[in-house]
Symmetry: C3
């Protein structure tokens, strides 16, 4: 018999898209972006601010599973402008470490793509966690 | 000792690329696109038709593991034109729900990329399932 | 109680980015590219050479877990020019098979994206392994 899944739904698209799904020890999260609770983009033009808000949304989804950032094992960063990353590596990876509350033990794949769901968005972070 | 893997191979590239691999409870699927059994692109210019055909191909791979769409936990949509998605959210997410046979309990990450394997393709759907 | 994770760190960005994380039977790897031990891009302009070097780096990360290419179940290829792939499928998939030491039982998702971390890079390979 299949193990049951646990589902967390947050935000304006929650009816169509699960924010997170847990099956066994694995938690898959939908890519998180810099939006507020109503789905409006925030931090326009500010890459570091969008990183922080995206991770805040990741943390909120994990909280729905009684999990924290410590559970994340793998992340993919989809960014719309690689130059925004390479221009300020210390600032960006500092913000990432702050989001994790310390040096993350997490893999990362970093890709520049041509667009995200809304034109204001500069980054989408897709995470996999294991508890 | 490592658990054995189960492999499903379908379609014209089956010798090079496994369509799906099961290890333990997890099934990884290669990204599925809107092609027929011979690998020819179908549904050119019709985004919703390509969504339906891509999911039909996902379902066919899962059937090779005696699994159904219910097993999918996570999906990534790689699309070549985000405007084709945002222009018709009800139609597109209606087609998705129809493919799942009901409201999916599935995460989604939605990214616009610059090209897929064939120029006619508008979407590639990469799924992870757990049984 | 959560299972402990095992972390492998290799290369110039090892302090910020884990090269691989194992949790339970799953090993997640950061996307691997054609760089040498100091992080310099190699194989500029030569797609097949970059495929080989990327897989060599994948194998090195797996070796840190006492695992080999046999453990890989799923890979995503992010390429900067799809035409470089379709122009020489036999050469490219021959190099892939050579990297695996035989016909791989591995899924693949193939996407053209707009840029990678360094302009010389033509491909990034993201792998998931299960031991």
């Amino acid at each position: 018999m299949s193990k049951q899944r646990q589902v967390v739904r947050i935000g304006p698209f929650a009816q169509a898209i699960a924010s997170g799904v847990r099956k066994g020890d694995a938690i898959y999260l939908s890519g998180q972006v810099s939006v507020d609770a109503e789905g409006g983009a925030i931090g326009a033009g500010d890459f570091v601010a969008q990183v922080k808000q995206s991770y805040a949304n990741v943390a909120e989804v994990l909280a729905g599973f009684d999990a924290t950032m410590d559970a994340i094992v793998d992340e993919t960063w989809f960014v719309t402008d690689m130059a925004a990353v390479t221009a300020d590596l210390p600032g960006i990876f500092g913000a990432r470490q702050e989001a994790y509350g310390g040096p993350p033990e997490v893999t990362q794949t970093l890709i520049e793509i041509s667009a995200l769901f809304m034109p204001e968005l500069l980054i989408e972070i897709k995470c996999i966690a294991h508890v």
